[in-house]
């Protein structure tokens, strides 16, 4: 007996995968891609997507009619009120400051340490076991000890963001060093480049795209980490606002804070893209890291 066929009709799997990724190889697909990436059309599609999200939320709140499911309008009203009385602005400032400090410190330690681990086998052999161990202990697991050691103020939150950033940036930078083509090093040696020149002119620029990729992932995760930290113990910040509003059943305020969180995340990613495109384009051009 022959083996049973898995599907009755032949399926072009490559085409299916391509369509799923928005890479429809047909002429029709190419036209759609061109249309979607043109300026006005892209704006229109973004606006439609957001409108569809709001509409779906509005319909759900109307249909389900739950007392704790505010409508978009109620959330917007709460948002306006919280922005007006300055509560939300203060929360945003607190959370963004925590993220910024932790992120910058994480990059400041992660990039040099990643470069050193990539360049020097002894440093790598010494640091790798502890790095490999700690990367599997998530930041959230350190929340309680961090709060116990550093209190509910700034230091514990910044420490969590730092911890999360440092490993992502370090491991990416280290793999960037490993990925430098041997011919690039050899040609530099061929021209007489030695020591610090090799580092400054070849190794560092060759790894920028990897460090940027790690930093961008870390930036995205920072929002989740700071909210996690603020949910558990804080007296200000967006995470604190979410949990505080929830405790008072002020669901409209809670969702308003969540809305701001999402918008901030998008804004941070856009800023990272702009910075990359403006100042780091030459370093990330060849690969898609950080793009």
């Amino acid at each position: 007996m022959s083996a049973p066929r898995l599907s009755a009709a032949p399926v072009d799997r490559h085409a299916a995968v391509g369509l799923a990724r928005g890479n429809d190889p047909t002429e029709q697909g190419a036209r759609a891609r061109r249309f979607a990436s043109s300026g006005p059309a892209a704006w229109m599609l973004t606006a439609l997507s957001l409108l569809a999200g709001v509409a779906a939320w509005a319909i759900a709140s109307r249909l389900l009619d739950l007392p704790l499911f505010p409508s978009p309008l109620q959330i917007l009203r709460a948002l306006a009120e919280m922005l007006g009385n300055g509560v939300l602005v203060a929360d945003i400032a607190v959370s963004v400051r925590r993220i910024a400090i932790g992120f910058v410190l994480g990059c400041a330690v992660g990039i040099p340490l990643g470069l050193a681990m990539g360049l020097f086998p002894l440093v790598r052999a010494f640091c790798d076991p502890i790095v490999q161990f700690l990367r599997f202990v998530p930041p959230i697991a350190w929340l309680i000890p961090a709060i116990m050691w550093f209190g509910i103020g700034e230091v514990s939150k910044i420490a969590i963001i730092f911890y999360m950033t440092v490993f992502l940036v370090l491991l990416n930078t280290m793999s960037g060093v490993a990925a430098i083509p041997r011919n690039q090093i050899r040609s530099a040696e061929n021209y007489g480049v030695t020591g610090w020149q090799l580092f400054a002119w070849i190794v560092f620029p060759a790894t920028v795209s990897y460090s940027v990729a790690g930093a961008r992932i870390a930036m995205g995760n920072s929002f989740a980490a700071v909210v996690g930290a603020e949910l558990i113990a804080a007296d200000a910040g967006l995470g604190y606002r979410i949990v505080d509003s929830g405790q008072w059943m002020a669901m409209d305020q809670m969702f308003a804070a969540m809305l701001v969180l999402g918008a901030l995340g998008i804004a941070a990613d856009r800023i990272a893209r702009l910075v990359t495109a403006r100042w780091l384009r030459r370093y990330v051009r060849e690969s898609e890291h950080g793009a």
Binding site: Q184, E189, N190, Y191, Q197, R285
Partner: protein
Amino acid sequence: MGPEATRAPDGAARAGNIGVRHVTFAFGGAPAVLEDLSFDVASGEFFVLLGPSGCGKSTVMNLIAGFEHPTKGSVIAGGRNVDVAGRDRVVIFQDSDSLYGWLTVRDNVAFPLRVLGVTARERDERAVAALKLVGLQGHEGKYPAELSGGMKQRTQLARALVLDSPILLMDEPFAALDAQTRSILQDELVQISVAMRRTVLFITHDIGEAILLGDRVGIMRAGPASSIKETIPIELPRPRRRGSVEFGALYERIHQSISEEVQRALRREDSLLK
């Protein structure tokens, strides 16, 4: 133009000479890749090293470049023992990944001058001149990722030429290119090497390319423990054409010699499998 036109003028320094003397090379404790390899390349000569895949051609280049060191024997370039990599022997790699992706074409070509401490203005002028020589004028501001394979190899060539190094070491530089681009670059390389009187050690496994380019062709034995089997002078006038009777006769002769080596390698592999 005859091959003798590529020789350095009488009285020129021996800066372009290469001497490989009884070189044996093995990676660690592995069997020797090269054994008792000896050959000489005269200053200004275009010498092609031809051999079956895996015979150790690139290892020879790495030894002359100073990237590897002989287990036994010695390598001499410009009258001096080769110890480390040096800008008197510039390498053009098969893969264009030796170009720096974050530098423009002009800055890539100017890079060796930057290492030498040449002023920004002078290195820009010299880089632009070298790029013109390889036909890349108008592409100075592009980045390597924006270039075709042939343009990347031209950039590598320009970067090597900007230094006035007496020796160019080329490791199958056109192997990854399409036939048409390869043919154009081969012609240009001959013109440039004749005009600039550089010593060229060119590695390839393409017999036609070896006859088109070389003043002499060194045929390597199949590895391991490879060495030069025979050296054949190519005394055809330039420009050489693949269709000529003499070209065909040389091709047959070299093909016969390489085929024997390939057969030998296959017999050896068979005996190892039994």
